[in-house]
Structure formats: structure tokens, C-alpha cells
């Protein structure tokens, strides 16, 4: 019995030691007062001049990692993060770079849903019914959204302690969109964060109107087609 308690305590101690230093998750209010707090709809094009540099973001995360390490280790022990810590952080940075690569996004918004369409990736989905956010769940993860004031927050929780959070902030004049991405994992002491900026643009109305059908695939015509 005594040995079982010791094993349990050791287990808890190890778990606490491995606990990553992650920024507290943004607040996820479960109830919305009235309507959706901000309008993100439109076509958005990446503004590379405003974008945060990935190497700069990695340096900032590395410094944070250094600060997170306990000060005054045993004499002779190597100072600074271990290669393993560094590799874990680089892995998060590479994943963040991959996820935030699309240079165009299209956001559609209705009374209940916001979808963020990205090239070569799935469409993010935020559902709000009965004034509450509804999670999208599948066997490989869970996606849920919430609001922090007028910021939309999309949080994806994946197996193995991987968590990807995107905070969408639209400027008051709706010309600029900032997407702040946090990639955190139980394998890294610190998360990796990066900001991407987008400019809104208007798409010209198409010359042809097309609809998808099952038997004839895409059907196009001049003038609106019956949906």
C-alpha cells in the first residue's frame, strides 16, 4: 500500500515537472448576449508587410523558453534549454508556419455560423446556436469557438496534448484582419505564437454563374442560376 502511494506521488511529481509553461487559454464565454459581436465576412489577402517574421517569432519563443527554465542549476550542468526542448519548439514553429501559410482566406458569416475557408486546408467552423458555442467533434480532434470581446477565438484540441488557437481581430473600419496563432503542445515547455495580417478586398462579380450538380458536375451560365 505504502509503495503504491509513493509511486502515485512520484507520478504526480513527474507530471507536474513536465507541465509546459503555456499562456492561459483565452476566455471562452459560453453565452452570447445578442447576435455575433463582430463581422469578419469577406475576402482577405495576406499583408506580408505587416506579418510577423517566423524567425523573429522563434527567437522570441526561445527567449521565453530560457526564462522558463529554473535558475541556478547544479554546478557543471549545461546552461540554457536542452536540444530536446529546442527541437520541440522548432517543431511547433514549423507546424505554425504550415498552418498559417495560406495567403488568402474567405470568411462567411451567418446568424449562427462563421466559416473560414483556407486554401489546402479544411474550413474552420464556428457554430453558435441558442447563444452558445457548439463544438465540432470528430475522432481526431475537437474544435470550438468563443468570443473575447469582439475577438473571435477558434480553439482546436488534438490528441497528444496538441492545441492550436487562432484569435481573429478585425479593425474598426473592417479593412484589416489580424490572426494571432498559438500552437502549444505537452511536449514543449512554451507555446509558439505568431501573428498574420490580412487586407480585405472585394472580388469582382464573376462573368459566369455556376452551380454544382451531382449528375452534370459544374453547370455554368450567364445570369443567376436557380439554386
Amino acid at each position: 500500500m505504502r509503495s503504491a502511494v509513493i509511486v502515485l506521488l512520484c507520478g504526480l511529481a513527474c507530471a507536474c515537472a513536465r507541465q509546459p509553461v503555456v499562456d492561459p487559454p483565452p476566455p471562452m464565454p459560453s453565452k452570447l448576449s445578442a447576435g455575433l459581436p463582430a463581422d469578419f465576412s469577406g475576402y482577405w489577402q495576406r499583408n506580408y508587410t505587416r506579418d510577423e517574421d517566423i524567425n523573429g517569432a522563434l527567437e522570441a519563443a526561445y527567449r521565453k523558453l530560457e526564462r522558463s527554465l529554473p535558475q541556478g542549476g547544479p554546478p557543471g550542468a549545461p546552461a540554457g534549454p536542452s536540444p530536446r526542448d529546442f527541437n520541440s519548439l522548432v517543431a511547433l514553429a514549423r507546424l505554425a508556419e504550415k498552418i498559417t501559410r495560406p495567403d488568402e482566406i474567405a470568411i462567411a458569416q451567418t446568424e449562427h455560423e462563421i466559416t473560414v475557408q483556407r486554401k489546402d486546408d479544411y474550413t474552420m467552423l464556428c457554430s453558435f446556436y441558442d447563444d452558445a458555442a457548439k463544438a465540432t467533434v470528430n475522432p481526431y480532434g475537437q474544435e470550438v469557438c468563443g468570443w473575447d470581446g469582439k475577438d473571435l477565438i477558434n480553439q482546436l484540441t488534438l490528441p497528444g496534448g496538441l492545441q492550436i488557437t487562432n484569435r481573429f481581430t478585425v479593425s474598426a473600419d473592417r479593412k484589416e484582419l489580424r490572426v494571432f496563432t498559438i500552437v502549444a503542445s505537452s511536449t514543449s515547455r512554451v507555446p509558439f505564437t505568431i501573428s498574420r495580417f490580412y487586407k480585405r478586398y472585394d472580388r469582382l462579380p464573376p462573368d459566369f454563374h455556376c452551380i454544382e450538380t451531382l449528375s452534370m458536375k459544374r453547370v455554368c451560365g450567364i445570369g443567376p442560376l436557380q439554386q
Binding site: 507546424l95 504550415k98 457554430s127 457548439k134 451531382l214
Partner: protein, 366 residues
């Protein structure tokens, strides 16, 4: 279109009165061959729209299936030659001899689950049961073509169980069902004239207390009206037949895509299992793999959503046209129903009114 309908109405009214002598007394009939009414199925949509995605229910398509699938059951019952006229109707008719109602519990490429309830005119439940069938690529029935249900064996089972349920009753009981049916119809149409023939019990079932005379003139009129309404009901049923033949091939395509989507999903699951432990924990490859598993699963779901939109784009206009036409015909029936109720009420009043004293008889109170 409405001009055509007006002329059809005129013909129907003429037809109804022309056929009056034939309809006055019910011809001898096989009481085991009850008339069957199949209302459009309950699409079985979850009350909370937020659950549509979770349960993979496409509401518009479910509503189309709710109009489409009853026709397959109707066809199956008709082909069994066990029943009288079998009609698909827009809404349940409590006076129908036998109502076979259905709810779609599940419908995807591989599986169809229906809850079927059969209730006779007396409110007696013959059958209340869930029927399900899973048809994968390997066990598709031979000869399945566009318009022929892959789930035909499921409908055959429903038809067989209905016949078995019917065979449990003797002819006398079934004859009572037909009597209750016409009297329920009569009571709705002319409540004053037909009060006292039926009794509704606390559990909602209806009991036959007595029968009107075979040559009751009011009952003859009621049969006449019901005959006219049946003509319209047959026309509405014809619309469901048209809908079935027009969208059957696209519906089969939709089911094929849904089946394909289920296959992709199974492949995704297999891929995720195979690659689960390939890369070291915390490495970019492992993180990317975890992310990609979620990504591809979501993309598969989104492709399904797009296919649902494509299906609706293709059949939506046909369904809308058909719904409008059925609503127009049903509206006409409802409107005429009000007229018939009023006329029959007045007739009954005239027949039962005590003779009024003639004016100028000199009768005075003393």
C-alpha cells in the same frame, strides 16, 4: 396552371354527381384489401439544428427523402396485391382505413432505418416497429437500377409484416374497420347527422356503436364526396410518383457518393492508425500527422456538405414545383371540404327540421 385546375375541378364535381347513384351504396368488396394511406414520412430531424452536423443529417435532403421513400413502400404494397388502393398523401388522414406512417431514423449510403407505425381507422395499432437494413457494395441486390431501391428487401419485410398483422384479424373485424372509416369521415364532414354512431374512448381508439341504414341518403352523399376526394388524392399520389421517377437517378447518385464518403472515412481511420506511432513524440512529423488526421477528416465531411448542396441544386427545383402543385391540390380539397361541410349541414337541417306551422292558419294563443 390555375385555369387548368379550375377546369379539372369543374369536371370532378360533375363526375362526382354523375357517379352519385353508383356511389350511394357501397359495392360488395373484399374487406381484407383495405385502402392504405401513406402520409409523407417524418424526416426525423433532430430538434436542435446544432446537431445536424454532428449526426450528419442534411435537413433539406431528409425532407426530400421523406417524400421520396414513401413511394417505394407504396409501390411495394401495391405490387404485393394484398391491399386495396395504396396512396401517398401529404398529411395523415385519421379516417383512412389503414394509415402506414414512417419516420426516417437513419439514412446514409449504407444504412436505412425507418420506424413504421400502422394504425387502422379505429385507432388500433397494428404495427409499431423499427426496420433497418445495411447494404454495402458487396451485398447490393442484383438488378438494382436507378429508381429501384437498394433497400427493397427492407420494404418487402414491412409489407410482409403488415400482411401478417392484417391476417390476425377476422373478416368481421376488418369489415368494422371499413365501417368506422366511412363513419369517421362522415362525422368530420357532417357531425350533426352522424352523432351517436361512434364512440371515442379515453385511449383515443374509436368504437362502433351502431350502423346507419344501408340506404341512408346522407351516407350516400358522404360516399359521393369521399369518392370525389379520392380522385384528387389519386392525382396528388400521381405527383409523388412523378417526383420519384424524376429524381430517382440523382438520388441513387447521392447515395453512391455518400457510400464513397463512408469508404474514405474508413480509409482515413486506417491511415491514422498506421501512422500513429511512426514519428518520435514531439517531432514535427508527429505533430503534422496529428494535425493532418483532423484536417482530412474535416475535408471529407466538407466534401459531403458540398455534395448535399449539389444534390439540392439538381433536384430542388423539381421538388419545389411538385410541392407547389400538391399544395394547390390540397388547398382545393380543403376549400371544397369546407363547402361540403356547410352544404351537408344545411341538408341535414332541412331533413330533420320539424315542419313549421303555415302562416295565416289563424292559430293564436288564448
Amino acid at each position: 396552371m390555375s385555369r387548368n385546375l379550375r377546369s379539372v375541378r369543374g369536371w370532378l364535381v360533375l363526375l362526382a354527381f354523375a357517379l352519385a347513384p353508383c356511389l350511394a351504396a357501397e359495392p360488395a368488396r373484399d374487406v381484407t384489401a383495405l385502402e392504405v394511406s401513406i402520409p409523407v414520412f417524418d424526416p426525423g430531424l433532430p430538434k436542435d439544428p446544432a446537431q445536424y452536423r454532428e449526426l450528419e443529417v442534411f435537413p433539406r435532403i431528409r425532407k426530400i427523402e421523406a417524400m421520396f421513400l414513401p413511394f417505394v413502400l407504396r409501390d411495394t404494397l401495391e405490387k404485393s396485391r394484398e391491399w386495396g388502393p395504396v396512396r401517398v398523401v401529404p398529411k395523415p388522414d385519421p379516417a383512412a382505413e389503414l394509415t402506414v406512417a414512417g419516420t426516417i431514423l437513419r439514412s446514409d449510403g449504407d444504412t436505412l432505418q425507418l420506424r413504421i407505425t400502422a394504425t387502422d381507422a379505429s385507432g388500433r395499432v397494428w404495427l409499431d416497429k423499427a426496420f433497418g437494413s445495411t447494404v454495402t457494395g458487396a451485398n447490393v441486390p442484383q438488378g438494382t437500377a436507378a429508381g429501384m431501391s437498394r433497400f427493397q428487401p427492407l420494404y418487402d419485410r414491412i409489407a410482409a409484416e403488415l400482411a401478417t398483422a392484417r391476417d390476425a384479424f377476422d373478416e368481421n373485424t376488418l369489415a368494422h374497420v371499413t365501417d368506422i372509416s366511412i363513419l369517421r369521415y362522415a362525422t368530420e364532414l357532417a357531425p350533426d347527422a352522424f352523432a351517436g354512431y361512434l364512440k371515442t374512448n379515453d385511449d383515443g381508439t374509436v368504437e362502433l356503436l351502431r350502423l346507419p341504414a344501408r340506404d341512408d341518403p346522407m351516407l350516400a352523399r358522404i360516399r359521393q364526396v369521399r369518392g370525389a376526394e379520392d380522385v384528387i388524392t389519386d392525382a396528388i399520389d400521381g405527383k409523388f410518383r412523378e417526383l420519384h421517377s424524376e429524381i430517382a437517378s440523382v438520388y441513387d447518385l447521392w447515395r453512391a457518393y455518400r457510400r464513397k464518403s463512408l469508404e474514405y472515412r474508413a480509409e482515413d481511420a486506417q491511415h491514422a492508425q498506421v501512422t500513429a506511432n511512426d514519428a518520435p513524440r514531439g517531432s514535427f512529423e508527429q505533430l503534422e500527422n496529428t494535425y493532418d488526421n483532423y484536417k482530412y477528416s474535416r475535408i471529407t465531411s466538407q466534401e459531403m456538405d458540398q455534395l448535399a448542396v449539389a444534390f439540392n441544386n439538381e433536384v430542388g427545383p423539381t421538388v419545389d414545383r411538385m410541392e407547389a402543385r400538391v399544395a394547390e391540390m390540397q388547398g382545393w380539397v380543403d376549400e371544397r371540404y369546407g363547402d361540403w361541410q356547410r352544404i351537408l349541414g344545411q341538408l341535414f337541417e332541412v331533413q330533420t327540421e320539424p315542419e313549421k306551422p303555415r302562416s295565416g292558419t289563424g292559430e293564436t294563443d288564448h
